[in-house]
Symmetry: C2
Protein backbone atom coordinates (compact mmCIF):
# COMPACT_ATOMS: atom_id res chain seq x y z
CA UNK A 1 0.00 0.00 0.00
CA UNK A 2 2.96 2.29 0.51
CA UNK A 3 5.70 2.78 -2.02
CA UNK A 4 9.26 4.03 -1.80
CA UNK A 5 10.40 7.30 -3.31
CA UNK A 6 12.20 5.34 -6.02
CA UNK A 7 9.19 3.24 -6.87
CA UNK A 8 7.01 6.32 -7.07
CA UNK A 9 9.50 8.06 -9.33
CA UNK A 10 9.68 5.09 -11.67
CA UNK A 11 5.90 4.82 -11.88
CA UNK A 12 5.47 8.53 -12.45
CA UNK A 13 8.12 8.60 -15.16
CA UNK A 14 6.68 5.60 -16.96
CA UNK A 15 3.30 7.31 -16.83
CA UNK A 16 4.69 10.41 -18.51
CA UNK A 17 6.66 8.49 -21.13
CA UNK A 18 3.68 6.31 -21.88
CA UNK A 19 1.56 9.16 -23.17
CA UNK A 20 1.65 8.85 -26.91
CA UNK A 21 4.14 6.02 -27.28
CA UNK A 22 2.21 3.20 -25.69
CA UNK A 23 5.10 1.17 -24.42
CA UNK A 24 8.26 2.40 -22.71
CA UNK A 25 11.81 1.18 -23.30
CA UNK A 26 14.47 0.46 -20.73
CA UNK A 27 16.91 3.01 -22.12
CA UNK A 28 14.35 5.80 -22.40
CA UNK A 29 13.41 5.29 -18.77
CA UNK A 30 17.04 5.09 -17.67
CA UNK A 31 17.78 8.38 -19.37
CA UNK A 32 14.81 10.20 -17.85
CA UNK A 33 15.69 8.96 -14.39
CA UNK A 34 19.40 9.65 -14.73
CA UNK A 35 20.22 6.08 -13.99
CA UNK A 36 21.57 3.03 -15.82
CA UNK A 37 19.68 0.49 -17.89
CA UNK A 38 20.64 -2.31 -15.51
CA UNK A 39 19.08 -0.48 -12.59
CA UNK A 40 15.90 -0.04 -14.57
CA UNK A 41 15.71 -3.76 -15.28
CA UNK A 42 16.08 -4.44 -11.55
CA UNK A 43 13.23 -2.12 -10.71
CA UNK A 44 11.06 -3.44 -13.51
CA UNK A 45 11.27 -6.91 -12.03
CA UNK A 46 10.32 -5.55 -8.67
CA UNK A 47 7.39 -3.49 -9.89
CA UNK A 48 6.03 -6.18 -12.15
CA UNK A 49 6.35 -8.60 -9.25
CA UNK A 50 4.06 -6.27 -7.34
CA UNK A 51 1.62 -6.23 -10.22
CA UNK A 52 2.17 -2.59 -11.10
CA UNK A 53 3.58 -3.23 -14.56
CA UNK A 54 3.01 -5.30 -17.65
CA UNK A 55 6.49 -6.42 -18.49
CA UNK A 56 7.91 -8.96 -20.90
CA UNK A 57 11.71 -9.07 -20.99
CA UNK A 58 13.19 -7.33 -24.03
CA UNK A 59 9.86 -5.71 -24.95
CA UNK A 60 9.30 -2.47 -23.02
CA UNK A 61 6.64 -2.20 -20.34
CA UNK A 62 3.47 -0.36 -19.50
CA UNK A 63 1.62 0.40 -16.30
CA UNK A 64 -1.08 -1.92 -15.02
CA UNK A 65 -4.29 -0.35 -13.78
CA UNK A 66 -2.97 -0.44 -10.25
CA UNK A 67 0.34 1.06 -11.35
CA UNK A 68 -1.44 3.82 -13.19
CA UNK A 69 -3.49 4.63 -10.13
CA UNK A 70 -0.36 5.15 -8.07
CA UNK A 71 1.34 7.17 -10.80
CA UNK A 72 -1.68 9.45 -11.10
CA UNK A 73 -1.74 10.05 -7.38
CA UNK A 74 1.93 11.07 -7.45
CA UNK A 75 1.19 13.41 -10.35
CA UNK A 76 -1.72 14.85 -8.38
CA UNK A 77 0.49 15.56 -5.40
CA UNK A 78 3.18 17.07 -7.58
CA UNK A 79 0.87 19.44 -9.37
CA UNK A 80 -1.02 20.51 -6.28
CA UNK A 81 2.24 21.38 -4.56
CA UNK A 82 3.37 23.28 -7.65
CA UNK A 83 0.16 25.24 -7.54
CA UNK A 84 0.60 25.93 -3.85
CA UNK A 85 4.19 27.10 -4.30
CA UNK A 86 3.34 29.42 -7.17
CA UNK A 87 0.03 30.81 -5.92
CA UNK A 88 0.71 31.05 -2.19
CA UNK A 89 4.45 31.25 -1.72
CA UNK A 90 5.18 33.27 -4.85
CA UNK A 91 7.62 30.85 -6.29
CA UNK A 92 8.81 31.54 -9.77
CA UNK A 93 7.55 29.46 -12.65
CA UNK A 94 10.72 27.52 -13.09
CA UNK A 95 11.44 27.01 -9.38
CA UNK A 96 8.30 25.11 -8.49
CA UNK A 97 9.19 21.89 -10.21
CA UNK A 98 12.24 20.84 -8.22
CA UNK A 99 10.68 21.59 -4.84
CA UNK A 100 7.50 19.76 -5.83
CA UNK A 101 9.66 16.76 -6.75
CA UNK A 102 10.39 16.40 -3.06
CA UNK A 103 6.99 17.30 -1.68
CA UNK A 104 5.22 14.84 -3.95
CA UNK A 105 6.55 11.92 -1.95
CA UNK A 106 4.87 12.92 1.29
CA UNK A 107 2.20 10.32 1.16
CA UNK A 108 -0.65 11.36 3.45
CA UNK A 109 -3.85 11.26 1.42
CA UNK A 110 -5.58 13.46 3.94
CA UNK A 111 -2.89 16.09 3.55
CA UNK A 112 -3.33 16.22 -0.18
CA UNK A 113 -7.10 16.31 -0.11
CA UNK A 114 -7.09 19.09 2.46
CA UNK A 115 -4.49 20.98 0.49
CA UNK A 116 -6.67 20.63 -2.60
CA UNK A 117 -9.63 22.03 -0.69
CA UNK A 118 -7.55 24.86 0.74
CA UNK A 119 -6.38 25.83 -2.72
CA UNK A 120 -9.94 25.82 -4.05
CA UNK A 121 -9.68 22.71 -6.23
CA UNK A 122 -7.45 24.18 -8.93
CA UNK A 123 -7.80 22.65 -12.39
CA UNK A 124 -4.25 23.02 -13.63
CA UNK A 125 -0.78 23.60 -12.25
CA UNK A 126 1.33 26.66 -13.09
CA UNK A 127 2.47 25.08 -16.35
CA UNK A 128 -1.09 24.38 -17.41
CA UNK A 129 -0.94 20.67 -16.76
CA UNK A 130 -4.22 19.25 -15.47
CA UNK A 131 -4.40 18.27 -11.79
CA UNK A 132 -6.01 14.84 -11.27
CA UNK A 133 -8.88 14.92 -8.76
CA UNK A 134 -9.00 12.90 -5.56
CA UNK A 135 -10.59 9.98 -7.40
CA UNK A 136 -7.75 9.94 -9.89
CA UNK A 137 -9.72 11.47 -12.77
CA UNK A 138 -7.62 13.61 -15.08
CA UNK A 139 -9.46 16.14 -17.21
CA UNK A 140 -8.13 16.07 -20.72
CA UNK A 141 -7.42 19.43 -22.28
CA UNK A 142 -8.74 19.91 -25.79
CA UNK A 143 -5.67 21.92 -26.56
CA UNK A 144 -3.70 21.74 -29.79
CA UNK A 145 -0.03 22.40 -30.37
CA UNK A 146 0.77 25.94 -31.36
CA UNK A 147 2.56 24.54 -34.38
CA UNK A 148 -0.76 23.11 -35.57
CA UNK A 149 -2.71 26.35 -35.18
CA UNK A 150 -4.05 28.01 -38.33
CA UNK A 151 -2.65 31.31 -39.53
CA UNK A 152 -4.37 34.39 -38.08
CA UNK A 153 -6.39 32.31 -35.62
CA UNK A 154 -6.22 33.87 -32.14
CA UNK A 155 -5.53 31.37 -29.39
CA UNK A 156 -4.62 31.27 -25.72
CA UNK A 157 -1.58 29.51 -24.28
CA UNK A 158 -2.81 26.74 -22.02
CA UNK A 159 0.08 24.48 -21.31
CA UNK A 160 3.79 23.93 -21.70
CA UNK A 161 4.98 20.45 -22.46
CA UNK A 162 8.51 19.05 -22.27
CA UNK A 163 9.16 21.50 -19.47
CA UNK A 164 12.75 22.16 -18.63
CA UNK A 165 14.47 25.03 -16.90
CA UNK A 166 15.62 26.17 -20.32
CA UNK A 167 12.22 26.30 -21.94
CA UNK A 168 10.66 28.06 -18.95
CA UNK A 169 13.46 30.62 -18.85
CA UNK A 170 13.08 31.12 -22.58
CA UNK A 171 9.34 31.68 -22.33
CA UNK A 172 9.88 34.17 -19.56
CA UNK A 173 12.26 36.16 -21.73
CA UNK A 174 9.80 36.17 -24.60
CA UNK A 175 7.06 37.09 -22.12
CA UNK A 176 4.95 34.15 -23.15
CA UNK A 177 3.10 32.87 -20.14
CA UNK A 178 -0.10 30.92 -19.65
CA UNK A 179 -3.21 32.83 -20.61
CA UNK A 180 -1.49 35.00 -23.20
CA UNK A 181 -3.50 35.30 -26.41
CA UNK A 182 -1.56 35.21 -29.64
CA UNK A 183 -1.84 34.39 -33.31
CA UNK A 184 0.49 33.16 -36.00
CA UNK A 185 1.22 35.74 -38.66
CA UNK A 186 3.69 33.88 -40.82
CA UNK A 187 5.69 30.71 -41.02
CA UNK A 188 9.06 31.11 -42.64
CA UNK A 189 9.56 28.53 -45.35
CA UNK A 190 13.30 28.44 -44.78
CA UNK A 191 13.41 27.10 -41.20
CA UNK A 192 9.76 26.82 -40.21
CA UNK A 193 10.22 29.53 -37.59
CA UNK A 194 7.02 31.38 -36.69
CA UNK A 195 6.17 35.04 -36.50
CA UNK A 196 3.76 35.44 -33.62
CA UNK A 197 1.69 38.44 -32.69
CA UNK A 198 0.87 39.02 -29.06
CA UNK A 199 -0.58 42.28 -27.78
CA UNK A 200 0.44 44.00 -31.01
CA UNK A 201 4.03 42.99 -30.52
CA UNK A 202 5.71 40.56 -32.84
CA UNK A 203 7.89 37.72 -31.57
CA UNK A 204 9.77 35.10 -33.50
CA UNK A 205 9.82 31.59 -32.15
CA UNK A 206 11.29 28.37 -33.45
CA UNK A 207 9.32 25.44 -34.73
CA UNK A 208 10.64 23.47 -31.78
CA UNK A 209 9.18 25.86 -29.25
CA UNK A 210 5.87 25.92 -31.10
CA UNK A 211 5.66 22.18 -30.66
CA UNK A 212 5.97 22.52 -26.89
CA UNK A 213 3.16 25.01 -26.44
CA UNK A 214 -0.44 23.93 -26.25
CA UNK A 215 -3.09 26.47 -27.13
CA UNK A 216 -6.85 26.74 -27.31
CA UNK A 217 -8.55 28.88 -29.95
CA UNK A 218 -10.50 31.82 -28.57
Amino acid sequence: MNYSVSEENYLKTIFHLQEGSDTVSTNALAEKLNTKAASVTDMMKKLSGKGLLNYTPYYGFSLSNEGKKIAVSVVRRHRLWEYFLASRLNFDWKEVHSVAEELEHVSSKKLIDKLDEYLGYPQTDPHGDPIPDSKGRVSQTQAIRLVDLSLHQPAEILQVINQSDEILEHLKEKQLHLGIVLEIKKIHAFDQSLEIKRKNKMVTITQELAKSLLVKTV
Copy 2:
Protein backbone atom coordinates in the same frame (compact mmCIF):
# COMPACT_ATOMS: atom_id res chain seq x y z
CA MET B 1 25.73 19.90 3.11
CA ASN B 2 22.75 17.60 2.60
CA TYR B 3 21.73 14.94 5.05
CA SER B 4 19.62 11.81 4.74
CA VAL B 5 16.24 11.42 6.38
CA SER B 6 17.81 9.04 8.89
CA GLU B 7 20.63 11.38 9.76
CA GLU B 8 18.21 14.24 10.24
CA ASN B 9 16.02 12.14 12.49
CA TYR B 10 18.94 11.10 14.63
CA LEU B 11 20.16 14.68 15.00
CA LYS B 12 16.71 15.97 15.81
CA THR B 13 16.10 13.28 18.41
CA ILE B 14 19.45 13.83 20.10
CA PHE B 15 18.62 17.52 20.20
CA HIS B 16 15.36 16.84 22.00
CA LEU B 17 16.84 14.33 24.42
CA GLN B 18 19.72 16.64 25.18
CA GLU B 19 17.55 19.32 26.72
CA GLY B 20 18.01 18.93 30.43
CA SER B 21 20.17 15.82 30.52
CA ASP B 22 23.29 17.07 28.86
CA THR B 23 24.48 13.85 27.32
CA VAL B 24 22.44 11.21 25.55
CA SER B 25 22.75 7.44 25.89
CA THR B 26 22.63 4.82 23.18
CA ASN B 27 19.64 3.03 24.63
CA ALA B 28 17.61 6.16 25.19
CA LEU B 29 18.15 7.13 21.59
CA ALA B 30 17.39 3.65 20.32
CA GLU B 31 14.11 3.65 22.18
CA LYS B 32 13.00 7.05 20.89
CA LEU B 33 13.84 6.09 17.34
CA ASN B 34 12.24 2.67 17.54
CA THR B 35 15.43 1.02 16.55
CA LYS B 36 18.11 -1.13 18.14
CA ALA B 37 21.16 -0.06 20.12
CA ALA B 38 23.49 -1.55 17.55
CA SER B 39 21.97 0.57 14.81
CA VAL B 40 22.46 3.65 16.95
CA THR B 41 26.14 2.87 17.41
CA ASP B 42 26.52 2.55 13.64
CA MET B 43 24.96 5.93 13.07
CA MET B 44 26.91 7.54 15.90
CA LYS B 45 30.15 6.57 14.20
CA LYS B 46 28.93 8.02 10.98
CA LEU B 47 27.71 11.29 12.45
CA SER B 48 30.78 11.82 14.59
CA GLY B 49 32.89 11.07 11.53
CA LYS B 50 31.12 13.98 9.88
CA GLY B 51 31.83 16.20 12.85
CA LEU B 52 28.22 16.52 13.94
CA LEU B 53 28.64 14.80 17.29
CA ASN B 54 30.96 14.66 20.27
CA TYR B 55 31.21 10.96 20.88
CA THR B 56 33.43 8.80 23.04
CA PRO B 57 32.55 5.10 22.94
CA TYR B 58 30.67 3.95 26.04
CA TYR B 59 29.99 7.52 27.22
CA GLY B 60 26.90 8.96 25.50
CA PHE B 61 27.16 11.76 22.98
CA SER B 62 26.13 15.34 22.42
CA LEU B 63 25.69 17.50 19.34
CA SER B 64 28.55 19.60 18.04
CA ASN B 65 27.77 23.16 17.03
CA GLU B 66 27.38 22.08 13.46
CA GLY B 67 25.15 19.18 14.50
CA LYS B 68 23.00 21.46 16.58
CA LYS B 69 22.57 23.81 13.65
CA ILE B 70 21.21 21.03 11.50
CA ALA B 71 18.97 19.73 14.27
CA VAL B 72 17.52 23.18 14.84
CA SER B 73 16.78 23.60 11.17
CA VAL B 74 14.89 20.30 11.14
CA VAL B 75 12.94 21.41 14.21
CA ARG B 76 12.17 24.68 12.48
CA ARG B 77 10.79 22.88 9.44
CA HIS B 78 8.77 20.53 11.58
CA ARG B 79 7.12 23.23 13.62
CA LEU B 80 6.40 25.49 10.68
CA TRP B 81 4.68 22.65 8.87
CA GLU B 82 2.72 21.84 12.01
CA TYR B 83 1.60 25.41 12.17
CA PHE B 84 0.64 25.35 8.51
CA LEU B 85 -1.33 22.14 8.88
CA ALA B 86 -3.25 23.34 11.91
CA SER B 87 -3.85 26.94 10.90
CA ARG B 88 -4.42 26.58 7.17
CA LEU B 89 -5.54 23.03 6.55
CA ASN B 90 -7.54 22.63 9.75
CA PHE B 91 -5.72 19.59 10.92
CA ASP B 92 -6.50 18.39 14.38
CA TRP B 93 -4.04 18.95 17.19
CA LYS B 94 -2.93 15.39 17.36
CA GLU B 95 -2.77 14.80 13.61
CA VAL B 96 -0.21 17.43 12.73
CA HIS B 97 2.78 15.69 14.20
CA SER B 98 2.94 12.60 12.02
CA VAL B 99 2.44 14.49 8.76
CA ALA B 100 5.03 17.08 9.78
CA GLU B 101 7.44 14.21 10.42
CA GLU B 102 7.44 13.64 6.69
CA LEU B 103 7.34 17.23 5.53
CA GLU B 104 10.26 18.22 7.72
CA HIS B 105 12.67 16.34 5.48
CA VAL B 106 11.96 18.41 2.40
CA SER B 107 15.15 20.36 2.47
CA SER B 108 14.71 23.53 0.40
CA LYS B 109 15.71 26.48 2.58
CA LYS B 110 13.88 28.84 0.29
CA LEU B 111 10.68 26.83 0.71
CA ILE B 112 10.84 27.07 4.47
CA ASP B 113 11.68 30.74 4.57
CA LYS B 114 8.85 31.55 2.17
CA LEU B 115 6.47 29.38 4.13
CA ASP B 116 7.49 31.23 7.29
CA GLU B 117 6.78 34.54 5.61
CA TYR B 118 3.44 33.29 4.26
CA LEU B 119 2.38 32.19 7.72
CA GLY B 120 3.32 35.55 9.20
CA TYR B 121 6.38 34.42 11.17
CA PRO B 122 4.53 32.47 13.86
CA GLN B 123 6.28 32.21 17.22
CA THR B 124 5.10 28.79 18.32
CA ASP B 125 3.64 25.65 16.80
CA PRO B 126 0.18 24.30 17.73
CA HIS B 127 1.59 22.63 20.84
CA GLY B 128 3.17 25.85 22.03
CA ASP B 129 6.72 24.85 21.15
CA PRO B 130 8.83 27.76 19.91
CA ILE B 131 9.66 27.90 16.19
CA PRO B 132 13.34 28.67 15.54
CA ASP B 133 13.84 31.60 13.18
CA SER B 134 15.70 31.44 9.87
CA LYS B 135 19.00 32.18 11.61
CA GLY B 136 18.46 29.25 13.96
CA ARG B 137 17.60 31.33 17.01
CA VAL B 138 15.10 29.70 19.36
CA SER B 139 13.19 31.94 21.73
CA GLN B 140 13.07 30.42 25.16
CA THR B 141 9.71 30.46 26.86
CA GLN B 142 9.68 31.67 30.45
CA ALA B 143 7.01 29.14 31.18
CA ILE B 144 6.84 26.99 34.29
CA ARG B 145 5.35 23.56 34.76
CA LEU B 146 1.75 23.56 35.90
CA VAL B 147 2.83 21.33 38.76
CA ASP B 148 5.05 24.13 40.03
CA LEU B 149 2.35 26.80 39.89
CA SER B 150 1.21 28.30 43.21
CA LEU B 151 -2.29 27.67 44.51
CA HIS B 152 -4.93 30.14 43.32
CA GLN B 153 -2.52 31.76 40.88
CA PRO B 154 -4.21 32.18 37.46
CA ALA B 155 -2.06 31.05 34.54
CA GLU B 156 -2.36 30.40 30.84
CA ILE B 157 -1.44 27.12 29.16
CA LEU B 158 1.45 27.77 26.80
CA GLN B 159 2.93 24.48 25.85
CA VAL B 160 2.58 20.73 26.02
CA ILE B 161 5.72 18.71 26.52
CA ASN B 162 6.21 14.96 26.10
CA GLN B 163 3.56 15.06 23.41
CA SER B 164 2.02 11.80 22.44
CA ASP B 165 -1.26 10.92 20.80
CA GLU B 166 -2.50 9.89 24.21
CA ILE B 167 -1.74 13.10 26.01
CA LEU B 168 -3.20 15.22 23.21
CA GLU B 169 -6.35 13.13 23.11
CA HIS B 170 -6.60 13.39 26.88
CA LEU B 171 -6.25 17.18 26.84
CA LYS B 172 -8.91 17.40 24.19
CA GLU B 173 -11.31 15.43 26.37
CA LYS B 174 -10.61 17.66 29.35
CA GLN B 175 -10.95 20.68 27.06
CA LEU B 176 -7.56 21.96 28.01
CA HIS B 177 -6.01 23.62 25.00
CA LEU B 178 -3.36 26.29 24.56
CA GLY B 179 -4.43 29.71 25.76
CA ILE B 180 -6.84 28.41 28.38
CA VAL B 181 -6.50 30.24 31.69
CA LEU B 182 -6.75 28.15 34.82
CA GLU B 183 -5.73 28.01 38.46
CA ILE B 184 -4.97 25.28 40.96
CA LYS B 185 -7.54 25.03 43.73
CA LYS B 186 -6.27 22.06 45.66
CA ILE B 187 -3.65 19.37 45.57
CA HIS B 188 -4.79 16.09 47.05
CA ALA B 189 -2.27 14.83 49.56
CA PHE B 190 -3.11 11.24 48.81
CA ASP B 191 -2.01 11.02 45.19
CA GLN B 192 -0.89 14.56 44.35
CA SER B 193 -3.74 14.90 41.88
CA LEU B 194 -4.78 18.49 41.22
CA GLU B 195 -8.15 20.19 41.29
CA ILE B 196 -8.06 22.80 38.56
CA LYS B 197 -10.54 25.58 37.92
CA ARG B 198 -11.05 26.71 34.37
CA LYS B 199 -13.93 28.98 33.36
CA ASN B 200 -15.69 28.20 36.64
CA LYS B 201 -15.61 24.50 35.89
CA MET B 202 -13.53 22.16 37.99
CA VAL B 203 -11.36 19.46 36.47
CA THR B 204 -9.19 16.88 38.12
CA ILE B 205 -5.86 16.09 36.59
CA THR B 206 -3.03 13.83 37.64
CA GLN B 207 0.35 14.97 38.83
CA GLU B 208 1.82 13.38 35.72
CA LEU B 209 -0.26 15.51 33.40
CA ALA B 210 0.55 18.63 35.40
CA LYS B 211 4.22 17.97 34.75
CA SER B 212 3.63 17.98 31.02
CA LEU B 213 1.87 21.32 30.83
CA LEU B 214 3.80 24.56 30.75
CA VAL B 215 1.98 27.70 31.89
CA LYS B 216 2.63 31.39 32.28
CA THR B 217 1.07 33.40 35.10
CA VAL B 218 -1.38 36.06 34.01
